[in-house]
């Protein structure tokens, strides 16, 4: 386990280093962020002053080393655009993304796994075929398109649900959440559905494939031979046996959605971090980009680590260090 943690830390450092270098060089290659954020009427003098203020006049490697040394002191820098510490900026937006993503990924997982098990258990029934058809659609249709249709239908035509924004929030532990209020919840529904659709499809496919494979194994045959009922077999045997890939994908999806729900957040004007990063990219707000990517790397390392812990929890072979 210790080896695992160290390995993960090494990886994380690697990603962060690579990412930060790429972003530094990339932003440098595109051009001076100043040219995007500065107003047209500024004189050369003022432009130069702004460049100096942001430290953009120094050689790139110097800027990088300043960044690194600040990083080592726990300072991820300040946004060019907002002039506030990047961490604060991300911190204020994280809860919005967090609740949206958790709700959608969790519900997609529960629903997807159930449907997937059904479809894998009765692969030839027409219900399964319907489920699979839905999953192919969910898998294929680009999410911005779905989002648009959702808004058009539920918000504009039917007027049942709000078209965007976050709605009322309640403070819990000093953080604003919107899921506890009815209004807030109604705002979450559409974006959550939009986000969940792809994951739902993915989970269905994963659970179905797992179920189909597992149902043919001797483990299940043996359980049947012992007279276990089908429901016991599904609940006690199958569910555990298909859980490993599902948890892996759950983790990765959770991570990538947390990091990047940008399409949904854009369409539904959800004030989350995904929106923040794409906005930062369009204005070349380098500190935000770098810090964000570093945090994403961290996030993934953490998630991977948690997944490993969960594996160890549910799979005794992992717990005991036996290669499965």
């Amino acid at each position: 386990m210790l080896g695992f943690i160290i390995q993960r830390l090494i990886q994380a450092t690697g990603v962060m280093a690579v990412m930060s270098v790429i972003v530094f060089c990339g932003v440098y290659a595109i051009g001076n962020p100043i040219d995007i954020v500065i107003p047209p009427e500024a004189t050369q003098e003022i432009r130069a002053e702004a460049i100096r203020r942001l430290g953009l006049d120094r050689p790139l490697y110097e800027q990088y080393f300043i960044f690194i040394s600040n990083l080592l002191q726990g300072d991820l820098g300040r946004s060019f655009v907002y002039n506030i510490p990047v961490l604060d900026l991300i911190g204020t937006r994280l809860p919005a993304t967090l609740e949206l993503v958790l709700i959608s990924v969790l519900s997609a997982t529960f629903l997807g796994v159930s449907l997937g098990i059904y479809a894998g258990y009765r692969p030839d029934s027409w219900v399964s075929k319907m489920i699979m058809a839905v999953s192919v659609l969910g898998f294929s249709v680009p999410s911005f398109w779905v989002g648009l249709i959702l808004i058009l239908f539920f918000a504009v035509n039917l007027g049942w649900l709000p078209a965007g924004g976050r709605g009322e929030t309640v403070e819990i532990w000093g953080v604003a959440w919107s899921f506890p209020t009815l209004n807030g919840l109604s705002h979450i529904v559409l974006p959550a559905v939009n986000l969940a659709l792809f994951k739902l499809a993915m989970m269905i496919r994963l659970a179905r494939a797992g179920t189909r494979e597992i149902m043919l194994t001797d483990t299940i045959k043996f359980a049947r031979a012992a007279g276990l009922s089908e429901s016991t077999i599904l609940r006690r045997h199958l569910l555990k046996l298909i859980s490993i890939p599902i948890i892996t994908v759950f983790g990765l999806e959770l991570g990538s959605t947390l990091a990047f729900a940008v399409v949904t957040e854009t369409i539904f004007s959800w004030p989350g971090v995904g929106k923040l990063i794409i906005d930062s990219i369009t204005v070349l707000d380098r500190p935000v980009m770098v810090a964000y990517l570093i945090l994403v790397a961290f996030l993934f390392v953490t998630i991977n680590f948690v997944i490993d812990l969960v594996f160890a929890l549910i799979d005794p072979r992992v717990r005991h260090g036996v290669s499965a």
């Binding site: 386990m1 210790l2 080896g3 695992f4 160290i6 390995q7 830390l9």
Partner: protein, 337 residues
């Protein structure tokens, strides 16, 4: 004793593949498996030209590993293998075509995407044993030799039965015109009725082509049938070696005796159900083999010395040797009745 195929002090270890993180963790004193498996441990063997050596032992005792080292597929961790004085491997790469292999699973040992004729021709073409233009007739010749219809060269492996595939695999090995053939359980996955065909083919070919053979099997009756001499392996070591009839007739190592005893034999005449002997306990983990003689925890003859020192390989007769502190007792007991 001199040999055509000589195997000198060959050992082969399999270490765990540690990630950087695990290495660091191990340094820091974390719980990381760093022990390695000693799959083959200090094996020395001489095989005479034209001889068939049977290699027997339970699963995981290192038969295949030894076979692969001899065949030049795996480099040994230490020790050397040479044929007629020429080493099989140099710097971890195989440098001879004089030793070829036939594998256990005929379904895995042929490339499913390659026509069988091409699979057989591939090696000889690469090594100039035949020209590309003549490859077809060259292959056809070997097909006939192993009892296959030469017209079948255009087929794919899935169009053949297991026994036929094993013949193709044998043809592929023989087409390289080897002096030494390593057969790693060539009949283990075949049906009994097919097994006989392949054994017959094998007997005929080794004789006709004067092949020197190492024949690996866990099926004692097969080994007994085909080999001139037999080596018994336990946890990576050769515990007994000798002419087949002698070893089967009078095992010198208690493990050999117990092994023979626990194999179910075909009982043709007993009206009563037979009882056979069993060895107590199970094979220890090769990661942490017992001290001294690896067999001592299961051995009925074990004494103090067995747990303390590893028995040396001692000659019993000219062609026969054994690694046991108590082999006289074992033989003596047999001698009495």
């Amino acid at each position: 004793m001199s040999g055509f195929l000589t195997i000198d002090n060959v050992s082969r270890l399999f270490g765990p593949n540690l990630t950087t993180g695990e290495k660091i963790a191990a340094r820091l004193g974390g719980k990381v498996e760093t022990r390695s498996v000693r799959a083959v441990s200090d094996v020395t063997l001489r095989v005479r030209k034209g001889e068939t050596l049977g290699l027997v032992g339970e699963s995981g005792c290192g038969k295949s590993t030894l076979g692969r080292v001899i065949a030049g597929i795996l480099p040994p961790t230490s020790g050397t293998v040479s044929i007629d004085g020429a080493p099989v491997m140099k710097n971890g790469t195989k440098v001879t075509t004089r030793v070829q292999t036939v594998f256990q699973d005929p379904f895995a040992s042929l490339d499913p995407r390659m026509k069988v004729g091409d699979a057989v021709a591939e090696g000889p073409i690469a090594h100039g044993l035949t020209a590309k233009a003549q490859a077809r007739s060259y292959v056809a010749g070997w097909f006939e030799q192993v009892g296959l219809d030469p017209d079948w060269v255009e087929r794919y492996p899935h169009q053949f039965s297991g026994g036929q595939r094993q013949r193709i695999a044998i043809a592929r090995a023989l087409a390289m015109q080897p002096d030494v053939l390593i057969c790693d359980e060539p009949v283990a996955s075949l049906d009994v009725s097919i097994q006989a065909q392949i054994i017959n083919l094998f007997l005929q070919l080794t004789r006709d082509l004067a092949l020197t053979t190492v024949f690996i099997s866990h099926d004692l009756s097969v080994v007994q049938h085909v080999s001139d001499r037999v080596a018994i392996m336990y946890l990576g070591r050769i515990v007994e070696l000798g002419p087949t009839a002698e070893v089967f007739g009078r095992p010198a190592h208690p493990y050999t005796a117990a092994l023979f005893g626990s194999v179910p034999k075909l009982v043709l005449d007993a009206e009563e159900l037979v009882r056979f002997e069993t060895i107590e306990g199970e094979v220890p983990s090769p990661l942490s083999p017992p001290s001294g003689c690896y067999y001592h925890p299961r051995c009925p003859l074990a004494s103090e010395i067995c747990g303390a020192t590893q028995p040396a390989t001692q000659p019993v007769s000219e062609l026969r040797s054994v690694a046991c502190h108590h082999f006289q007792t074992q033989l003596g007991m047999d001698a009495r009745d």
